[in-house]
């Protein structure tokens, strides 16, 4: 570590990536053997950018979110690879420095269903102010003042500061949780399924706020979701996961218009659209078990474009424009 112990790590300049993840692996111990939930995941995220990690249940997307902040359950077997936040290696950092310098100060995480994890006997204003008092050592009055500003940012009336969680609707509680993540003005906010438990109108209204916050504050986001339509509400870039691996990373325009990986294509075809006469089509079969994933391509068994080469594991092929695909069809001279 080159920086002095007490100073904040240097912030990266605008050109460099904010977060670089390389070959990240995470496995859990289970009674039936190790399960590799995250397998050689690599991506980078720039400042002011929103990356959506898209995938179906069990693909490892929530494990990935937790691995980025090393918020890991006890049955973790092994974590390897690199997670660099503006040059700082988060996996090598001591637990104490990670807690003091990174979590909530530079990266905030909104976990799945966290709106139900608010303290029921503390007014929500106090709860939103708490990270500032803990991490920044601010006075209660100053922290509450900032909490009020953050409430306005996420669309909660400031008189709600005095309320208890049970007095708020689900949508309001989700906004409060969002305010908690934003109140310290972190560089990066990781959102794990932030709107999946909410109604259509509430969901759209929260996505509106996130777009505004991203434009005004320049916060970077990693949005983890299974919902293709919602993902397009914020994404600059999309990373699609399947069975623990990222199978395609691309900018949003390319991904939603013409995805290259056959899984991405089939997934897009399975999404019902409001103004489309064509009936969506499902993907036959199931994802493989992560206890004993197939040796070759993990999607091969369900893939309509499978060919001889798919028994070997495809590497990640780089395509022009920060676009990467883990499929033999994307090989130079391939037919995608």
């Amino acid at each position: 570590m080159t920086e002095p112990r007490d100073a904040m790590p240097p912030r990266a300049d605008a050109e460099r990536s904010l977060l670089v993840v390389e070959d990240l692996c995470l496995s859990y111990r289970t009674s039936r053997g190790p399960v590799r939930a995250v397998d050689r995941v690599s991506f980078d995220l720039r400042r002011r950018e929103a990356l959506v990690v898209l995938g179906e249940s069990g693909c490892g997307k929530s494990s990935l979110a937790k691995a980025l902040l090393r918020l890991l359950p006890r049955n973790v077997d092994q974590v390897s690879g690199q997670v660099r936040l503006a040059g700082l290696d988060l996996l090598a950092l001591s637990e104490e420095r990670l807690r003091v310098d990174v979590r909530w100060v530079r990266i905030a995480l909104v976990m799945q269903a966290s709106m139900n994890a608010l303290n029921p006997v503390v007014r929500v204003g106090e709860q939103v102010a708490e990270p500032l008092r803990v991490h920044r050592g601010w006075s209660r009055a100053r922290a509450l003042e900032r909490a009020a500003e953050t409430f306005a940012l996420v669309g909660v009336a400031t008189d709600f500061l005095q309320r208890y969680p049970f007095e708020l609707s689900g949508g309001m509680r989700q906004r409060v949780v969002l305010a908690m993540a934003l109140v310290t003005e972190p560089d990066l906010v990781i959102l794990d399924e932030p709107t999946s438990a909410l109604d259509v109108l509430t969901q759209a209204s929260i996505m509106n706020r996130l777009k505004q916050i991203k434009a005004e504050l320049g916060t970077s986001f990693i949005l983890i979701t299974h919902d293709v339509a919602t993902s397009s509400e914020l994404a600059d870039r999309v990373a699609l996961m399947y069975a623990g691996q990222i199978v395609e990373v691309s900018d949003a325009a390319g991904f939603f218009r013409e995805p290259l990986h056959p899984y991405a294509q089939r997934l897009m075809a399975s999404v019902p659209r409001l103004h489309q006469a064509e009936r969506p089509s499902h993907i036959p079969g199931q994802p493989p078990s992560l206890l004993s994933p197939p040796a070759g391509c993990r999607f091969a068994e369900r893939c309509p474009r499978r060919h001889g080469r798919c028994v070997e594991e495809p590497p990640i092929f780089q395509r022009p424009g920060r676009h990467a695909v883990r499929c033999w069809l994307a090989a130079p001279g391939g037919s995608t």
Binding site: L201, S270, H275, H282, I283
Partner: protein, 332 residues
């Protein structure tokens, strides 16, 4: 197709001014009001018709479903099912009624008893409804597994719910709903717990079975994007009422009620341009069902509310186009 109720021998189900209220009590005995979960709902369902009820959480759609299933007693109004009034059935008649109405729950894992295998889960309704011959039960269980495409039966029958994938669990739930040969299936958010790639498969299966058996299907959902492909008619609920009902294409392409218009405007089709588009969303939240606002229940949030009318008078259902009904003064 039986999409015109007047052409068949009469509706399977006629609901008139149905109310399902839940009493609120303080200290366990003082009545302090009611939650008007379903508050004046009327519609008819033809035999063999598939209908979706769409609305946000708390709009009363699940309470409506549970009332139709005979799990809540209606507080008022009439549910007429094949000529019988649901509110007047005694315990025995209600048991017979439940054999004619199948229920597909939202969360398949929660809906299946964890310590029973598939064979036992499917045998249970048959035992309760007096199919005492073991061979007859086995025959019907195998037939229904074929129908929901859980094959081979010998492999599936000894399995416990946790050994099945989410999609397979939901097939077991559907099989259980079908095994007594009901006339009506009520599916409450049948795919909201499943992955996108499996959802279509389960909905397609439900639709095929519904057509083959000429069942009436009530499909409750909050997801407007799926309904076009799987139902014929659509009801939109808001704050305990049906605010719009029509054929599914008409309703999705030319919505009349401002609430339906807002719902449709809030839905995204996957498109990278969404990231830069701010959607117009009506402010506020659905009203309390204990003290609903006077007049139209959507008026506090409605961008087109007519002053002096909408906050005073409750709009009845108008029919500005044949078969397209809406409870909105704009279409009086």
């Amino acid at each position: 197709m039986a999409s015109h109720p007047e052409q068949t021998t009469g509706p399977l189900l006629a609901v008139r001014d149905l109310r399902t209220w839940f009493e609120l009590r303080q200290w366990g005995f003082m009545r302090v009001g009611s939650v008007r979960a379903v508050d004046g709902v009327s519609f008819e369902l033809a035999r063999g018709e598939a209908v979706a009820i769409v609305g946000e959480s708390g709009c009363g759609k699940s309470s409506l479903a549970r009332t139709l299933l005979g799990l809540h007693r209606p507080s008022g109004g009439v549910v007429d099912f094949e000529g019988q009034d649901l509110g007047r059935l005694d315990a025995r008649a209600l048991k017979d009624y439940r054999a004619r109405v199948g229920y597909v729950q939202q969360d398949p894992y929660g809906a299946l008893p964890p310590f029973l295998d598939v064979r036992r889960i499917l045998a249970e309704p048959l035992i309760v409804h007096g199919v005492s011959d073991r061979h007859e039960r086995e025959r019907r269980i195998r037939a229904v597994l074929e129908e929901v495409r859980l094959t081979p039966p010998d492999e599936v029958l000894p399995k416990f719910p946790h050994m099945l994938s989410g999609g397979q669990q939901q097939r077991v739930v559907i099989a259980r709903a079908l095994i007594l040969a009901p006339h009506l299936i009520i599916a409450d958010e049948p795919v909201s717990m499943l992955d996108a790639s499996v959802r279509v498969e389960i909905l397609t299966l439900l639709r095929e079975i519904q057509r083959e058996r000429r069942l009436t299907l009530v499909f409750i959902t909050h997801d407007l994007a799926t309904v076009r492909h799987f139902t014929e008619r659509l009801f939109v609920m808001y704050a305990g009422r049906i605010v719009e009902q029509a054929q599914v294409d008409a309703l999705l392409d030319r919505p009349l009620h401002p609430y339906t218009q807002a719902l449709l405007a809030a839905i995204a089709d996957p498109d990278a341009a969404n990231a830069t588009r701010v959607r117009s969303i009506p402010a506020g939240e659905p009203p309390s069902l204990v003290n609903p606002p006077p007049g139209c229940r959507f008026h506090p949030r409605c961008p087109q509310a007519i002053a002096g009318r909408c906050e005073v008078m409750d709009p009845p259902l108008f029919e500005p186009q044949a078969g397209h009904l809406t409870a909105c003064w704009l279409h009086a």
